[in-house]
């Protein structure tokens, strides 16, 4: 009974006027068990069945909803390539702010060498209260006026506290620059994803799609 209630509540939420604040309530959780409206599904590039199977994750970020659909990830690593060529001016898997390679071969019994081809890009969650920033002894991780967290390279000493503090170990200390590579939501990974497994849906689009239309 309570499950049904919860489902109805979130269903309502998803189909009513959406704000970032409301989405925060479901951010980071698997959407499994939720019914998502057709207009939002279309925006997220996924199906209700993919939502039900747990293949789709949503993360709220200051600039939009980050949608990761692992059913569509084909492991080409272009997200990592684009991340590093844009942000570091050199190319690497290890220092990438989005991480597919560490999941591609073998991840907790899944992956290429586990014969099931379940892999996905790990992304920075752009947490409201970021563990990375909280842990930084130099207060080098700051939020810009949109709320996007950046690394002040002048302050960063490459100690790795952010890497340890992040529950998903998303920042990396670049072996050459000795600076933390933390995602700054530049969007290069999603823009270059050749199957749309990774996308960032801007808030105005989310809000528009979630609005009941006049016709309805």
């Amino acid at each position: 009974m309570s499950e049904v209630k919860k489902e109805n509540k979130i269903d309502k939420l998803l189909n009513q006027e959406m704000t970032r604040r409301k989405f925060m309530k479901i951010s980071g959780k698997s959407l499994a068990g939720l019914t998502v409206s057709a207009s939002l599904l279309s925006l997220f590039g996924c199906t209700q069945e993919q939502v039900d199977s747990g293949a789709v994750s949503l993360w709220t970020t200051p600039t939009g909803l980050l949608v990761v659909n692992q059913a569509k990830c084909t492991g080409c690593q272009r997200c990592e390539i684009n991340c590093t060529v844009v942000n570091d001016g050199m190319v690497s898997s290890h220092t990438s702010r989005v991480k597919i390679t560490r999941n591609l071969m073998s991840n907790n019994g899944h992956g290429t060498y586990q014969d099931d081809w379940v892999y996905y890009p790990d992304t920075c969650r752009q947490c409201d209260v970021p563990a990375c920033g909280e842990a930084c002894p130099k207060e080098a991780i700051y939020a810009d006026d949109k709320g996007v967290k950046h690394v002040d390279e002048a302050k960063c000493v490459g100690c790795g506290a952010c890497v340890e503090a992040c529950p998903w170990h998303m920042p990396t200390i670049h072996p050459e620059t000795r600076k933390s590579t933390k995602c700054i939501l530049c969007g290069a990974c999603a823009e270059g994803c050749v199957t749309g497994a990774l996308s960032i849906v801007p808030w105005d689009a989310v809000t528009a799609a979630a609005q009941p239309t006049r016709k309805n």
Partner: protein, 706 residues
């Protein structure tokens, strides 16, 4: 000085002494990378009379400056070594995709030279600059899928692995190395590793590859993805109509097979519809290649989980299947491949196949069983020759004559007659483990003909597809690319793997459209109508040279020759014209040096001539030959004698004409700067390419043309 594009070091590992050293890649810069470094090291360091399985034999694994930089379709590496199975036992190369080339570059290496011989089974562990030789006794005898899994589990999930299977361990000439989901390097490399007792290698690379102009590189990459790239094999129009597209393939079939309503039924969360993939939409490019549908039709969708491929490549040409009917036979159901293993296993069943669950699924299920088996055992099929040899020898009754009665009776022929998928697995096992006389199929066609005394006329049988008398088949030859295709098919010491011409011929684009684009480059008469050829001309020789040296460029750079060059484009705004300057643009952005197409052509020609010189020396040593035209570049009779109801150059046939092909060879040698009598490079050509030392060598051996 900062090096851009290249990682900077070559790793040299001697398995006899255990010595592990590095050297500066830049000493090989004239040869760029990949097979360029491969040919140079083999030529300099391995006497060409060395037996491929001797301690002195080496494998040169190398990438080029574009691999690892994110240039689309660059997740490749080459392995160069002496052939154990072709006439002349000269230099061959294997090419492998997957993800491991990126890991190697990020670990800091442009290549690995494997030399010497271990006494016990080992593998090479590369963890950035920490490199060690590790015990592999627990992996010896295991299939590649299990070995790769164990290696990654033991070393860490951010490692990648590549291994040989039992075929390589047992020194089966027809053997390969496997990484990722069935990405293979063939040409017999498995047994060279096996002779060194090296099961394979694992790599973790946490470094970065520097590029001179990252912004420029991103711009050129995005330009390629928005305007130039097509589908699989760079087919530039979709197979079936899409709402945005002016053209589609008239046959309804090409390798841009992704389309609305087609997709992957076994994906997580159910069906993924591949939809339309308009020009310019980067986030849809990955749905263009639907190799499953191209290979097996709509039934493929039922069993597909997703698609895969190599690092950096937006064209996901590996269909990844979960073929449940195989479970009933206790066979693995997860199968992935893109080439012969997943399309050619029904040849093991000369008496035909029976469907399993749905109408028309027999070939897919059998190919699934066969693909998994050959990749797991690490058996290489020589582009289908091993299957064709089996099929023909069975049908002709020769196989029964050659096998001892006891062995013949031990083979589960009833499985073959019933179309049971366990039959292919059984035969693959026998060949890979060298069980019995049937395993002679693993020698390769050239040595099999000798061993079973099948006679030179064996190569003249059309079904067997041998393009020369040297032991390997055609690979998109005159049937796609008239005289030009046949010319580059006979230049190598294995199947040619050149896709330059087949890619536009099979693209589905209108003939007049691609003819115009190509003839602007190579001259009038370069491009024949499908199945309506004209006699040889100079433009066709130029076209053949472009494709031949261009293939070497790809294996130097290292780029995928299935995708490059970007000859055509799917963009109507561009008039469907691609960009043949693209590779030079990438080289400029990556290295910071100013590269032109002419520069690319020059280094390609240099490395191509190294292949030719090494081949000439090997043929001299092993065959006593002083003439490649007569002893290497021979064309099997069936190419001229097929379709007896037709004359050459009639509409409707792709048969070739003997005299015309001699004209073709002469014109081609002239374009290449080779002596027309012997087909051996002249001193003038070699010196122009900076290969004067090779001219001296040829002269000392009495091989240099007068």
């Amino acid at each position: 000085m900062t090096i851009y594009g290249w990682a900077g070091k070559i790793l040299r590992v001697n398995f006899t002494t255990g010595s592990i050293t590095t050297e500066d890649t830049m000493k090989y810069k004239d040869y760029i990378g990949g097979i360029g470094i491969g040919y140079k090291v083999i030529y300099d360091e391995v006497p060409l009379d060395t037996h491929p399985y001797d301690e002195a034999s080496k494998i040169v694994l190398a990438m080029g400056p574009l691999t690892g930089t994110g240039v689309p379709c660059s997740g490749r590496l080459s392995m160069t070594f002496l052939s154990s199975w072709t006439k002349g036992f000269s230099v061959v190369d294997a090419h492998m995709g997957g993800h491991i080339s990126h890991a190697l570059k990020y670990a800091g290496y442009d290549g690995i030279i494997f030399e010497g011989k271990s006494e016990t089974p080992v593998y090479l562990k590369i963890d950035d600059d920490k490199v060690s030789i590790e015990d592999a006794s627990h992996l010896w005898g295991k299939g590649t899928f299990e070995a790769n899994r164990i290696l990654v589990e033991e070393n860490g999930s951010d490692f990648d692995a590549a291994t040989i299977g039992p075929a390589g361990e047992n020194l089966v000439n027809m053997s390969c190395m496997i990484t990722s989901v069935g990405n293979a390097g063939g040409a017999g490399v498995g047994a060279i590793f096996g002779s060194k007792k090296v099961k394979g290698f694992v790599v973790r690379g946490t470094g970065s590859l520097k590029v001179a102009d990252p912004k420029g590189l991103k711009e050129v990459s995005d330009y390629m993805l928005r305007e130039l790239v097509g589908g699989n094999n760079n087919h530039n129009v979709p197979a079936v109509p899409q709402s945005w597209a002016e053209y589609s393939a008239p046959s309804g079939k090409n390798r841009w097979s992704g389309a609305p309503g087609r997709g992957w039924h076994k994906a997580e969360g159910g069906f993924v519809d591949m939809g339309e993939q308009p020009v310019g939409d980067i986030d849809k490019i990955g749905y263009r290649a639907h190799k499953g549908h191209f290979d097996h039709g709509p039934i493929a969708d039922k069993y597909m989980v997703k698609v895969g491929g190599c690092s950096s490549c937006p064209i996901r040409c590996y269909a990844q299947y979960d073929i449940d009917p195989l479970a009933e036979y206790d066979l693995p159901t997860k199968v992935s491949n893109t080439c012969m293993p997943i399309i050619y296993q029904s040849a093991w069943y000369p008496e035909g196949l029976t469907d399993f669950v749905d109408e028309g699924d027999a070939n897919l299920v059998i190919c699934g069983a066969g693909a998994r088996a050959v990749d797991d055992y690490g058996l290489w099929d020589n582009y289908g020759n091993i299957q064709r040899d089996f099929n023909y020898l069975y049908r002709s009754g020769i196989l029964k004559e050659k096998l001892p009665e006891e062995e013949w009776n031990s083979i589960p022929w009833h499985w073959m007659k019933e179309g049971d998928p366990r039959f292919v697995v059984d035969i693959v096992r026998r060949i890979s483990l060298k069980e019995g006389e049937i395993s002679k199929l693993g020698l390769g066609t050239y040595l099999l003909v000798e061993e079973w005394d099948l006679g030179k006329e064996y190569f003249d049988i059309e079904y067997l597809q041998n393009v020369t008398y040297n032991g390997y088949p055609k690979h998109h030859s005159s049937e796609d690319a008239w005289q030009s295709g046949l010319l580059y098919n006979i230049m190598y010491n294995r199947d040619c793997m050149v896709h330059h011409i087949t890619n536009f011929v099979q693209s589905g684009s209108p003939y007049e459209l691609y003819k115009k684009i190509l003839e602007e480059e190579f001259g009038e008469g370069a491009v024949d109508k499908p199945k309506h050829y004209t006699p040889m001309n100079r433009a066709k020789a130029r076209l053949a040279k472009w494709a031949f040296i261009g293939k070497q460029w790809h294996d130097m750079a290292t780029l995928c020759n299935w995708m490059y060059p970007m000859t055509l484009s799917p963009s109507k705004e561009r008039g469907y014209k691609g960009d043949l300057e693209l590779d030079a643009k990438y080289m400029t952005a990556v290295t910071g040096e100013n590269w032109t197409r002419e520069d690319v052509d020059l280094v390609s020609e240099r490395v191509t001539n190294m292949l030719r010189v090494i081949t000439a020396i090997s043929f001299h040593i092993h065959e006593g030959s002083t003439n490649l035209r007569e002893d290497h570049d021979t064309i099997a009779a069936w190419v001229f004698d097929k379709e007896p109801d037709f004359e050459p150059f009639e509409a409707g046939t792709v048969k070739m004409d003997r005299e015309d092909m001699e004209v073709a060879k002469t014109m081609f040698y002239e374009e290449m700067g080779w002596d027309v009598k012997t087909g051996i490079p002249t001193r003038e050509t070699l010196e122009r390419l900076g290969l004067g030392y090779m001219a001296d060598d040829l002269e000392a051996r009495g091989l240099l043309p007068a």
